[in-house]
């Protein structure tokens, strides 16, 4: 069973299209993510990165195309997305922690509700994940008292509590002050190191370059180019990829 899934991609996106009104945001996307792979999606604002990510767990309904998750088509009508979403964690740009709960309840809500886990057991799992992100002592803190970086780490722990097969990160550091981006990236890096399958939409080129296995460059609703970070950052095939990356390549920090 385990070997079976190893061989197959976790996510295979096929001919995905999505429009908002007359504006077509995704114009036929095909790509796949293998188990344990870390894929970063880069591209200019408005190129459809976030929409693509949100289509993967059906927060946006695609107009056409398929999203195969472990061989099941998420985009099919009447498919039980709720069940499949349990296996797909998502981290948002705006954290979206539940404001009416403390940190621990944020983490245990889904396991208790969906996995019928006991409160104590769920709390134990949650605490271990909070420990991972360095916030175990904040278990009973009000989420509004946390800093942005702490909130985002709680959000990651919350997603991990469902033991997802795949983690989606939608610009997880874009809403953070520059000096605290590092603490979130650090958590993501260690997740990647532990073999988590991840799709990351990001503007952090250093992360894309150093952590990911595959870099996908999106431009104007299509995947313009994809490849290993080494190839993408040292020798991009397309001029527009080069142009987009040039700003980052010149940056001595990367």
């Amino acid at each position: 069973m385990a070997e079976d899934t190893k061989a197959q991609p976790v996510i295979r996106v096929e001919g995905l299209r999505k429009s908002f009104g007359a504006h077509e945001v995704l114009k036929g996307i095909d790509f796949e993510v293998m188990p344990g792979e870390v894929v970063t999606i880069i591209g200019a604002s408005g190129s459809g990165k976030s929409t693509l990510l949100r289509c993967i767990n059906l927060l946006e309904t695609p107009d056409s195309g398929h999203v195969w998750f472990h061989g099941e088509d998420l985009a099919a009508e009447h498919v039980d997305v709720n069940r499949l979403r349990e296996k797909i964690g998502m981290v948002f740009q705006g954290f979206n922690l539940f404001n009416n709960m403390d940190v621990l309840d944020n983490c245990t809500l889904a396991p208790v509700t969906l996995k019928k886990m006991g409160k104590a057991e769920a709390a134990e799992v949650a605490l271990s994940h909070l420990e991972e992100v360095g916030l175990a002592d904040f278990a009973h803190a009000d989420v509004n008292s946390l800093s942005g970086g702490q909130k985002q780490r709680v959000a990651i722990a919350r997603a991990l509590c469902m033991k997802p097969d795949l983690m989606l990160f939608d610009e997880p550091t874009s809403a953070l002050d520059p000096e605290i981006v590092g603490e979130v990236l650090e958590v993501m890096r260690s997740l990647a190191h532990d073999g988590m399958t991840m799709v990351v939409v990001t503007h952090e080129m250093a992360f894309a370059k150093n952590v990911s296995d595959k870099v996908v460059f999106m431009d104007n609703g299509v995947i313009a180019e994809q490849g290993s970070p080494k190839q993408m950052f040292s020798n991009p095939r397309l001029p527009r990829t080069r142009e987009f990356l040039s700003r980052y390549l010149d940056d001595p920090e990367n």
């Binding site: 009416n100 002050d177 000096e179």
Partner: protein, 415 residues
């Protein structure tokens, strides 16, 4: 001002204020005016005439001293603050203490003339055999003579408002659940159909109930209910026993208020960041679970101030139910006004009663909502600066901060 906020009343009393002469002179003049008014039969100063004369002249003396100070200030405009005898520290303290005496004297005079005067008026009005001519006495007389009627009216106004609002609250919660249903992908066709019908019903309900006057609704519900019960073969008397005007009124006010409260709740729910529901859905929660566990608790909290306002509105709006003969405060007032044929006095009295009721209601509600108010966010604990300097590991290392956080939370939920 600083001392007021710092030491409260104590600090205020001990401070030497700038406008002591001006403010206290107004009070002194009011006291003198009161002293010139005729004494009522209840006056306690009637027996101590000399004392009142002394009090009057103390007030007068204050006004004279104030005048002297004013003249002094006008004449010595430039060096008043430094050279005037009135601005010496000792003089200032004396002025302050004297001003308390003036306030006290005026208060005694107020009690003697105004409060005791009103009490005397009340007692004589109550004892009166016929309706007195003057406005206030007549109002008191009718309020007293019609006390049973008014009490019954006030009681049912309160009952209508409280029960109506409570019933409406629960109905509104049910209705708003229908109203905010959206088609979700996993729904089968039957569920989709139910959601569309439910949402449509809620929309129509809200439009009709908010778009027609409650007075008309009261009429329709009352007579429709009456007809419905009659059609089961009951006699008019039997129907009246079940479908009383009070019950019809309660149904009207509940159903009417439901529509408004539903809209308030919907506003509260829609003001919740859509990211909250998205995050819940991304974890695999169904639309219903996301709604009940995440969005709704926050939405209700947002809506509480406006929801509690609905009780105050219902206290006032229940007055239109008198049109179907509900024995509320309005109906009671009309009844008493009809007996004595003195409308203005009666309706002013009713207005005072409604005002007192609504003021009590809003006081209680604001106290309640303060209790319900979830702890304020308080000091931001891990600010970005702290997080940046201490890093990931640093957050773990500060148990004191965390325990402070615990305490804060516990206090918040208890209080």
């Amino acid at each position: 001002m600083g001392s007021t906020t710092k030491g409260g009343l104590k600090g205020f009393l001990a401070a030497d204020h700038r406008y002591v002469f001006l403010g206290t002179s107004v009070i002194a003049l009011m006291g003198m005016w009161l002293s010139m008014q005729p004494r009522s039969t209840w006056s306690f100063l009637a027996g101590v005439y000399t004392l009142e004369v002394v009090m009057y002249y103390v007030l007068l003396a204050w006004v004279v001293v104030s005048l002297v100070a004013l003249v002094n200030k006008l004449v010595r405009w430039r060096d008043y603050a430094g050279a005037s005898p009135f601005t010496k520290p000792v003089a200032k303290r004396a002025e302050r203490i004297a001003s308390y005496v003036v306030w006290a004297i005026s208060a005694v005079l107020f009690a003697d003339r105004a409060i005791m005067g009103f009490c005397a008026l009340v007692s004589s009005s109550i004892a009166s055999d016929s309706n007195p001519r003057d406005f206030l006495s007549s109002m008191v007389y009718m309020a007293y003579e019609g006390r049973g009627v008014f009490a019954r009216g006030i009681a049912s106004t309160i009952e209508l408002a409280i029960f109506g609002t409570a019933i409406a609250f629960f109905l509104a919660i049910l209705l708003v659940f229908l109203r905010i249903q959206q088609i979700d992908r996993p729904d089968n066709d039957f569920v989709r159909f139910l959601k569309v019908v439910g949402c449509g019903f809620a929309k129509v309900y809200s439009a009709v109930l908010r778009g027609t006057p409650m007075m008309v609704q009261a009429m329709i519900f009352y007579f429709a209910g009456f007809a419905a019960f009659r059609s089961t073969g009951m006699s008019t008397g039997e129907v009246s026993a079940i479908w009383s005007t009070f019950v019809a009124g309660l149904v009207t006010i509940s159903l009417n208020s439901t529509a408004y409260m539903m809209e308030v709740l919907r506003g509260g729910i829609e003001s919740v960041d859509p990211g909250q529901a998205e995050a819940a859905r991304s974890l695999g929660l169904s639309q219903w679970q996301a709604m009940t566990k995440v969005v709704f608790p926050q939405g209700i909290k947002n809506a509480i101030p406006a929801l509690s306002n609905e009780l105050v509105i219902n206290i006032k709006d229940s007055s239109v139910l008198s049109v179907i003969g509900v024995f509320d405060l309005m109906f009671a007032t009309t009844t008493v006004a009809g007996i004595y044929y003195r409308q203005l006095e009666c309706y002013v009295f009713a207005a005072i009663c409604y005002l007192i009721l609504t003021m009590i209601a809003s006081k209680i509600l604001s106290a309640l909502s303060k209790r319900l108010e979830v702890r304020n966010p308080g000091p931001v604990l891990g600010t970005s600066d702290v997080a940046a300097t201490t890093g990931v590991a640093g957050d773990k290392a500060d148990p004191q901060r965390v325990s402070a956080l615990h305490d804060q939370k516990r206090d918040g939920t208890k209080g």
